[in-house]
């Protein structure tokens, strides 16, 4: 959708109209062109449309209004244009998304499983052969899952940049993380090196996916 706003630099209503349309352009995927009628492009548009007053509004080349269009009407006029991602974010609630809720719930389950190491060995850092299994249930299972759930929930809110919720990437990350922790721990407990290695690779893959998901949230120039 292309919005053209014809303005005159000396007109206060034009400044008001421009401010309203810049707000709308920040919310919706649309092309906004503010044309000063004292400049060549603006003057040509005025002549072409035989306009007598500004501000004037054109939507996809069609004259829609002369005068200031209020914010509500401007939003109504641009309803067909898709919302920008960060505008969608502002419409999100404060509660956990489904996958982040699962990350947090899973973390608590892994914490309880890791705690069994305390009961069996008297310490998470005992000299027992099962030490890596319980230690990694705590670090990979509890700590990393907490980072996944809280990080994906909080970072978009801290930076103002969106993170797509419920994406295939998020669920793949979840699947790999579960596969990784359980295979890693089971591999150590069973003394099966290949299973441990497979688990480590899956857990690493989940961290890679998480990093790729949150990197644009941290470094997108949209809101930072």
């Amino acid at each position: 959708m292309k919005i053209e706003l014809l303005v005159n630099s000396g007109c206060s209503a034009c400044a008001q109209a421009e401010a309203i349309w810049r707000l709308v352009a920040d919310e919706r995927e649309l092309e906004l062109a503010v044309l000063d009628i004292a400049q060549t492009a603006g003057a040509a548009r005025v002549a072409q449309l035989a306009l007598k007053a500004v501000p004037a509004l054109l939507v996809d080349g069609e004259l829609k209004a002369v005068g200031v269009v209020c914010l509500e009407d401007a939003r109504q006029l641009t309803q067909a244009a898709p919302l920008k991602a960060h505008a969608m974010l502002s419409r999100m609630g404060m509660f956990f998304s489904r996958e982040n809720r699962w990350f947090i719930v899973s973390a608590q389950i892994y914490l309880m499983l890791a705690g069994i190491g305390l009961v069996l060995n008297g310490s998470l850092l005992s000299d027992s052969a099962s030490r890596p299994a319980f230690l990694h249930l705590f670090t990979l299972g509890f700590m990393l899952f907490m980072i996944y759930g809280l990080g994906a929930h909080m970072l978009p809110r801290f930076t103002g940049n969106p993170l797509v919720e419920g994406s295939a990437g998020a669920w793949l990350q979840m699947g790999l993380a579960h596969l990784g922790v359980t295979a890693y721990a089971a591999g150590y407990l069973a003394g099966w090196q290949a299973l441990t290695l497979g688990g480590a690779v899956c857990a690493w893959g989940s961290l890679l996916i998480f990093s790729l998901r949150v990197w644009p949230v941290l470094w997108s120039s949209q809101r930072n």
Binding site: M143, I147, G151, L197, A203, W204, L207, S211, L218, N224
Partner: protein, 134 residues
């Protein structure tokens, strides 16, 4: 979110991936990486992934939860420099089995921890003093 805090979180992720890779290589063949690999892996994950992540998030949220600005931005900047000078030095020390590098890196990492701790205490203390005044 302050650029320094975003750096902390980003660096945490990089350390996490690096530490994971170290573990995978060690599982494939313990001779692939020289030095004290288990210790290196443990510290990359704890000081690199977990602590840097906590630094980034805590420096952002704790002042906001308290309702007061961070006590010292400069301390937090130095915390970033020291933490990220210290851990690589420790890694070099474990790779080369050189205790001197490990100790030097450890001192820097500890200095970063102290800066963070003091900065947080002074930020939270400012919050508490103000609430007592009110």
């Amino acid at each position: 979110m302050h650029k320094r805090n975003r750096l902390f979180v980003s660096i945490a992720l990089v350390y996490g991936l690096m530490g994971g890779l170290v573990a995978i290589l060690r599982l494939i063949d313990p001779a692939l990486i020289p030095g004290n690999v288990p210790r290196m892996h443990g510290h990359i994950m704890l000081l690199g992934l977990i602590l840097m992540m906590i630094y980034g998030i805590a420096l952002h949220v704790l002042p906001r939860f308290g309702g007061f600005p961070l006590y010292s931005e400069r301390m937090a900047d130095w915390q970033l420099y020291l933490a990220n000078a210290g851990l690589p030095l420790m890694i070099v020390g474990w790779l080369t089995m050189s205790d001197g590098w490990v100790v030097a890196g450890g001192v820097m990492s500890y200095a970063a921890i102290v800066l963070f701790g003091l900065n947080m205490i002074l930020t939270v203390k400012a919050t508490r003093s103000a609430s007592h005044e009110n």
